[in-house]
Symmetry: C2
Subunit: 104 residues, 2 copies
């Protein structure tokens, strides 16, 4: 299974989950209440988010709280950086970033 951050945020439900738990940690049941999907479907999404370290779990009794783990999000930010330089018109820096591709 493909499991990287880009693939993780491709799904709209997963993006919504990330936004939802950004403010506070939530259990799968609580999260599922915000969507049309079943708990199991949400649980699957959480597993994927967990596997690419966008969320972390914390067991509390029989409940498991899922919490946003923001750090891996920087990976997307970093990838975006090269394009950000284009739309900001900072072409000099772009040249550095893409220097490997400039051999023609």
């Amino acid at each position: 299974m493909r499991r990287d951050v880009f693939q993780a945020i491709a799904d709209p439900t997963r993006r919504a989950i990330l936004v939802l738990i950004a403010s506070k940690a939530m259990t799968p049941n609580a999260i599922a209440e915000h969507f049309d999907s079943s708990r199991q479907a949400v649980s699957k999404h959480l597993r994927i988010l967990s596997e690419c370290e966008l969320v972390k779990q914390e067991q509390q009794g029989r409940e498991i709280y899922y919490q946003l783990q923001v750090d891996k999000m920087k990976q997307i930010d970093k990838w975006l950086d090269q394009f950000r330089k284009i739309w900001e018109g900072r072409f000099n820096e772009l040249d550095n970033v893409l220097s490997k591709l400039k051999k023609e």
Copy 2:
């Protein structure tokens, strides 16, 4: 077919194409040479990128040059912004962004 920017950048080949044509416009054949995939496979990726306006085409004789269209990339950047505020520790601004979710 699902066609939004997030889904477009989920595929590693498509991300590579975007980086590749960032420095200069290229034809499908030229792009395909950089990958293991066939020209047709690349062509399909280009169509998807085209449909979410991440690339634009320019016909030149019988060749079609594909060029990066960076603007839609800002959509990702904007989505990322709410999380950027978290990792930058700017929680006040986060509160504004996520204010709808703070009713509990």
